[in-house]
Symmetry: C2
Subunit: 200 residues, 2 copies
């Protein structure tokens, strides 16, 4: 089904949204650094408040790091996190404000006016970082790969294990690869338009 109210072509609609699914199994085909870089170079342009770019991505490639990560995943996520060709830890850098004068030259004072307090920085990094997680998932799909985003893990454990500075907050862990055998559960229902959208 294509919707003519959209400009995006039908194949792209399918690739990014309609046929893309959260994979639970993957083939052995590796995910390359070139693919991840292409994803980043695309999704980096999507908008955030004050052009802040708090999202950080840790690619877990070594067997040793994979074991360290799996130890902090919820039981139901351990097997697939161990089996995915590539796993990315997506986190917010709560010290993003240091970069703000360079990233938002129109109002370099934003760093001090809005983000001098830790709580304000954390809230903004978490909100905008999560919006960037959404962009990243779409980017993985744009590379023809399946993303398996997960939030079932010990966040404090991952923060300590992978970010020694104490200034990062994990948002999601994403399994990335080509879908394998029986990769999909049945697609869950979605809310109807009228349940989500109202007009005033």
């Amino acid at each position: 089904m294509t919707d003519t109210a959209l400009v995006l072509d039908s194949a792209a609609q399918d690739l990014l949204f309609r046929e893309a699914r959260t994979a639970n199994t993957f083939t052995d085909e590796p995910v390359t650094d070139e693919q991840i870089q292409a994803i980043y170079e695309l999704v980096k342009y999507a908008p955030t408040a004050f052009n802040q770019q708090a999202l950080r991505v840790v690619l877990v490639r070594s067997a040793e790091a994979r074991e360290r990560l799996v130890a902090h995943m919820a039981d139901g996520n351990k097997a697939k996190t161990l089996a995915a060709p590539l796993v990315a830890v997506l986190a917010a850098d709560n010290e993003f404000h240091r970069e703000l004068p360079a990233q938002f030259p129109a109002f370099p004072q934003a760093k001090d006016v809005f983000f001098s307090e830790r709580a304000a920085r954390e809230g903004s990094a978490r909100l905008n970082g999560a919006i960037q997680v959404g962009y990243f998932v779409i980017g993985v799909r744009a590379a023809g790969l399946a993303a398996g985003p997960m939030t079932g893990f010990d966040a404090e454990g991952i923060n300590k294990e992978f970010f020694s500075d104490g200034e990062h907050s994990v948002l999601a862990v994403v399994n990335i690869g080509k879908p394998g055998a029986d990769a999909w559960y049945p697609r869950g229902p979605r809310l109807a338009y009228d349940e989500v959208v109202t007009t005033v």
Copy 2:
């Protein structure tokens, strides 16, 4: 520039990410309910934890409602919020767990196991709702429209003004329309790949 490591075609890459920009002015061309519905019917398929769908969209169409919204916007956002063809308030429904047994039939107990406490619900609704904001922005662009997402507002004021049940948290306000004259500021810089992505 196109990247061959991506499967998504070049025109779609431009439409969604590379040429799309946050518009600050708009033409008078209306944004129809059909366009918003097409956007929703596309982005509703993007993934969230437990298939939760906390995102709610309030289309602010009446002049009276527009004035009520503008009163809660930061000064720098008032003029463009008043001028946009359509403004959408995007919020998280913190009572999303009520729908969870129907939306995630594989584990209907999730409602009580994970979301019996208000703080857990709010955290999950805020994280996954923000990820859905990211999908929504991409969806607006898929309809050939410019999105102007804003977070500069009195959140408590908007929550009280537009959600009488006290169970919703505004995440972003998005101006939507066709870009007008001088719609763009110069695009801000983006972090380099190596500043965002590391490998372990």
